[in-house]
């Protein structure tokens, strides 16, 4: 459910909004709602705070729309505003600097070796109807260090490409790839053996 950015629609919308057709802002921001919210949830780790910050972000985007130059994608620009909003709030509430927020650096060593397991071919997508599995996945992602969590959210959940993810997070494309690799390895290690239990049993053709 990830809206593909449409630069021509966005440019036209922005021009018309700035010319007075303000109601079009609803349509402009709608495809960005999901990534804004999950970016903020990943930073603030609290649904109510993330929702409030998402509303504030949308208002800031509206007020600063005349500053958007079109040299990046609109969604990238919006997400960098969301990220600043989230980090600003964290600093205020926890009175800690960005150093500690981003304390985990890309040089950090760690064990990123995968879990070794026997073959697991079927994806238990049907089991997602069960809250238990969704909860397991969400918990695993919430448990990742922030620099990995952000990258997973934007790349694998919101399906943004490496370039856009790098621009939204203000890091290099190389850093996105390294973080993504580590994040996926951590998730694989954490989840693979537990998820395997959700894989469908091979269907039996005869039930007698």
């Amino acid at each position: 459910m990830n809206a593909v950015p449409n630069p021509e629609f966005e440019a036209d919308c922005i021009r018309r909004i700035l010319a007075g057709e303000k109601h079009l802002f609803h349509d402009l921001i709608r495809p960005c709602e999901r990534p804004i919210y999950f970016m903020l949830l990943s930073i603030l780790k609290n649904e109510a705070d993330a929702e409030d910050a998402a509303q504030e972000t949308a208002i800031k985007v509206y007020r600063n729309l005349h500053l958007f130059r079109g040299d990046s994608q609109f969604r990238t620009w919006v997400l960098s505003i969301a990220r600043n909003e989230g980090l600003g709030r964290l600093r205020k509430t926890e009175s800690r600097g960005e150093e500690s927020l981003d304390a985990l650096t890309d040089e950090q060593s760690g064990d990123f070796t995968p879990a070794v397991l026997t073959s697991w071919k079927e994806v238990p997508a049907d089991a997602l109807e069960r809250k238990e599995l969704s909860g397991l996945l969400r918990k695993a992602i919430e448990g990742l260090p922030e620099i990995y969590r952000n990258v997973i959210l934007l790349r694998d959940i919101e399906e943004m490409d490496v370039r856009e993810t790098a621009a939204a997070l203000g890091v290099s494309e190389g850093a996105v790839k390294v973080r993504l690799h580590r994040a996926r390895a951590l998730l694989q290690r954490d989840l693979a053996s537990r998820l395997k239990g959700f894989a469908p049993k091979r269907a039996r053709l005869f039930k007698w």
Binding site: M1, K22, H23, F25, H26, I29, R30, E33, R34, Y37, F38, E47, E51, A54, Q55, A58, I59, Y62, R63, T113, P114, A115, V116, L117, T118, S119, W120, K121, V123, P124, A125, L128, E129, L133, S134, L137, R138, I141, I152, D156, I157, E159, V162, K177, L180, H181, R184, A185, L187, Q188, L191, A192, L195, K196
Partner: protein, 79 residues
Amino acid sequence: MRIDCKHVWQHVSDYIDGEIDAQLRAEIDHHLETCEICSAVLDSTRNVMVLVADDRVFELPTGFSDRLHARLEEELAKG
């Protein structure tokens, strides 16, 4: 050149994203043909990615969009 399992693991993510050159891809493919462990690591990493990307895992709170647009409407009405 034969590559070992650790080497394959280092490139799993780029392999899935198609971000490696043709030669390395061929070497990994060759390795995967005979290595069940690496095949399982690759499958499970891909499966985890498919699952976390499912919209049912990360859902917006009920009414999120309505509340957002109501707040925006107030802002837009300010003139």
